[in-house]
């Protein structure tokens, strides 16, 4: 188990380096001189040269990468062009909000996904299964940003029950666990939960159907074991995989929250990323992508190791 964790960690390192390389290259695949993205258009030649040096753009690429990586490790992600503040500072404010939203959404998605998947798998090939499966197809097919808009139209515009945008009253971005703040969380969290719900429902349905068709389960039933006993057995056997899928989905949501955060103006990393794109603030863009991607890589690692700890038969990769 420990060896496996260590092996996975060693395997992840080159991936992490590759991910950082791609993030670094984002500045350089941006069309035109990278300076354009960090300078006001009317900058003097002197200022240009000065900035060029301070960013290290005059050095060869590998050295630039090395300097950048060293800075990143020291917690220096550069300076946002739009605000002039350090990227780290901007990120620190946003990341908490994104984690709250993604976590709540994953939990909602996990709950309903497991429920639908369970019911569908338990009543395989019946009308109930068809309906539950269709709901999960809808879950994976719906453009979630549009679903967000529709929910806003219904619950904010038409009914006026819930606020449409922001994380708190008056556009504040500091999160507090009270009713006024939670009201802001409901719509984006439900919208976001649709994606993991569909995927978890599909996974659980397949798992449950598979376990129930196994001979020893049918044997248990024949022996007179109650449905409750069978149920406990099924839950015990589906839980590790379902939880692993949930962990991965959390990673996807953290990284993929941009569309929903844009719809709801939720002050998280995705919203920040949207602004960075809109203002062509490449250092900010680079920093957000790096942090989110690394989050995903290491979350994957943790899920893998935990899953193999729960079920030694599963050793992926």
């Amino acid at each position: 188990m420990f060896i496996y964790a260590l092996k996975r960690l060693i395997y992840v390192l080159p991936v992490a380096i590759g991910v950082s390389l791609i993030c670094f290259m984002l500045v350089h695949i941006a069309p035109g001189d990278p300076l354009i993205s960090v300078l006001p258009p009317d900058a003097s030649a002197d200022l240009r040269e000065q900035i060029r040096r301070s960013y290290g753009f005059d050095r060869p690429l590998p050295i630039q990468y090395w300097i950048w990586l060293k800075n990143v490790f020291q917690g220096d992600f550069g300076t946002s062009i739009a605000t002039g503040r350090p990227v780290v500072e901007e990120l620190r404010k946003a990341i908490g909000n994104t984690i709250i939203l993604s976590l709540i959404a994953t939990l909602i998605g996990f709950f309903f996904g497991s429920l639908f998947g369970f019911v569908a798998g338990y009543h395989r090939d019946t009308v109930i299964d068809k309906i539950a499966s269709f709901i999960s197809v809808i879950g994976v097919s719906v453009p979630h940003y549009w679903l967000g808009m529709v929910l806003v139209i219904i619950f904010s515009v038409q009914l006026g029950w819930l606020p449409a945008t922001g994380a708190g009253p008056g556009g504040s971005s500091a999160w507090v666990w009270d009713w006024t703040h939670i009201k802001h969380l409901i719509l984006p969290a439900i919208t976001m939960s649709v994606i993991p719900m569909g995927i978890i429902a599909r996974t659980v349905r397949a798992l449950v159907a598979d376990i129930l068709s196994q001979e020893f389960v049918q044997g248990l039933r024949a022996k007179g074991l109650t449905d409750r006993g069978v149920l406990r057995h099924v839950i015990k056997n589906t839980a590790p995989t379902a939880l692993a899928v949930m962990g991965l989905q959390l990673g996807y949501l953290l990284g993929g929250s941009i569309l929903i955060e844009t719809v709801f103006s939720w002050p998280g990393t995705g919203f920040l990323l949207g602004q960075a794109i809109f203002q062509r603030d490449i250092p900010l863009l680079q920093g957000i992508i790096l942090v989110l991607a690394m989050f995903f890589v290491f979350l994957n690692l943790i899920v893998d190791v935990l899953q193999s700890a729960l079920d030694p038969r599963v050793q992926r990769g």
Binding site: S141, V142, M149, I153, G255
Partner: protein
Amino acid sequence: MIEQKTIPLDEYTRSPSYWAIVLRRFSRDKVAMFALAIIILLFLVAVFAPYIAPADPLKGSMLRRLRPIGTPGLPLGADELGRDMLSRLIYGARLSLFMGITPVAIAFVIGSSIGIAAGYLGGLFNSLTMRTNDIFYAFPSVLLAIALSGALGAGVTSGLLSLTIVFIPPIARVAESVTTQVRKLDYVEAAKASGANNFTIIRVHVLGNVLGPIFVYSTSLISVSMILAAGLSFLGLGVKPPEPEWGLMLNTLRNAIYVQPWLAALPGVMIFMTSIAFNLVSDGLRSAMDIKS
């Protein structure tokens, strides 16, 4: 010597091929057929847009801004610049379908080439390509698409490029794993033993057995691609105004949700419908190919 003992080759029983069976099973799947009909209809709409659309999708009028659905002469209303919604939705099928399907199609060609080569050749080539692949795979797909097109800037080309790069790694991964399985089977060994070169073995014995699963997997990505492509335009990346494209229309109409909420939601209905149709067709294909013999 052989041609002396002529056996009449024409009169014999020929079993239906695997694909013939799959096609027959698929055609009996009512849900998949219905979804396929929707897709075909959307394609027809896209191709014949100029003949179907009642108005010019780019021509607006300040007098008709945000007219509701059902206004005489404007069956689905008018958008924030007074352009005919119905015509824009019809013309929008062109770019939306193009932006959603093209990346998967290109990624299918590139990804399966990489994956099949890696799976068949194995060894160092496999390790190198698959580890590189893992790096791209390490990004959540939405994030990678947005990072790339965010850096490349808005535009159809950069959107297509970003999405293609997003879909190559998962397809290559699936291609590699099915090819590795097939490569170890005895019939590939037997083909080698009969003196065939790698190219011929791949063409005759590998492709026929791996392209099916890779293709089905790729079709399941079209729905994701449709949502992502429209999502890019929704963020202001991808397609640039004033072109009609569903994601972009959703973006520009966002501010109108307080005025004409249902009008603003219309383009999303199109994205949803297309995406679900592709998902259902893909599911149908998958179960049609799952033949237990």
